[in-house]
């Protein structure tokens, strides 16, 4: 079965600093999804990547899927307290419409 490993598990950064979160899959990624979750709340969809080498941005958050389609990175530029939360990557199990498998998440704290 496919597994997603996220690193780091937790991250504390100073406001204004850049950071990167990685998501590595044990199998080829057909679709890779990034979500953000605040404690005690549902997941908020950030972006989806499908093609090797694809890169998408939303405000100060950029995600990229590597050419071999087994790893994705999420990069936040000039972090702000509003970026704090848990970031989860999810992946299609096989090509097409099936439930996602998720990583365990990366907990991000941004300190002033």
């Amino acid at each position: 079965s496919q597994e997603l490993e996220q690193s780091p598990q937790s991250l504390i950064v100073q406001e204004g600093k850049n950071l990167t979160i990685n998501c590595t899959s044990s199998k080829t990624l057909y679709g890779l999804y990034w979500y953000k979750q605040k404690y005690g709340e549902g997941l908020i969809f950030l972006m989806m990547l499908q093609k090797g080498g694809e890169e998408k941005s939303h405000e100060k958050i950029t995600a990229k899927l590597d050419e071999k389609k087994q790893q994705s990175s999420l990069h936040i530029t000039a972090s702000q307290p509003s970026h704090a939360g848990i970031y989860l990557c999810g992946a299609d199990r096989v090509s097409g419409n099936t439930p996602l498998v998720f990583g365990k998440g990366t907990r991000l704290s941004v300190i002033a």
């Binding site: 999804y33 709340e41 549902g42 997941l43 969809f45 419409n97 439930p99 365990k104």
Partner: protein
């Protein structure tokens, strides 16, 4: 626009009691529906998913069950709760081949 509702938001139930969590989606038809459980240190675990009325696929049979009595309604149930059922339950929906959108969740504490 589409919205997804879950209730209750929080629930405290004794061991051995029944459970019923409800999820409804508005603004779309024939969605795929999902139930996940999020427990501390264990990430997001898929429990059930449904691609249509009456069609339920189970990932974790145990003592939980799911039903989809209407197109946009998904119910998670248990006849007798266990301590290990405590967690944060999330419902999600998606269109065929697209990203999933999650509800606000229900925090269940079994005492």
């Amino acid at each position: 626009s589409q919205t997804i509702h879950q209730w209750p938001a929080t629930l405290v139930q004794p061991v051995g009691s029944p459970l019923s969590l409800e999820c409804t989606v508005e603004g779309t038809s024939n969605p795929n529906l999902y139930w996940y459980r999020q427990a501390a240190g264990r990430g997001l675990q898929l429990l059930f998913y449904s691609v249509g009325i009456g069609q339920i696929s189970s990932e974790v049979p145990q003592n939980l069950s799911a039903s989809r009595p209407q197109d946009r309604q998904f119910i998670l149930s248990s006849k007798k709760l266990l301590l290990s059922d405590s967690g944060f339950y999330l419902c999600a929906w998606s269109r065929q081949g697209y990203e999933q959108y999650f509800g606000p969740g229900t925090r269940l504490t079994v005492t």
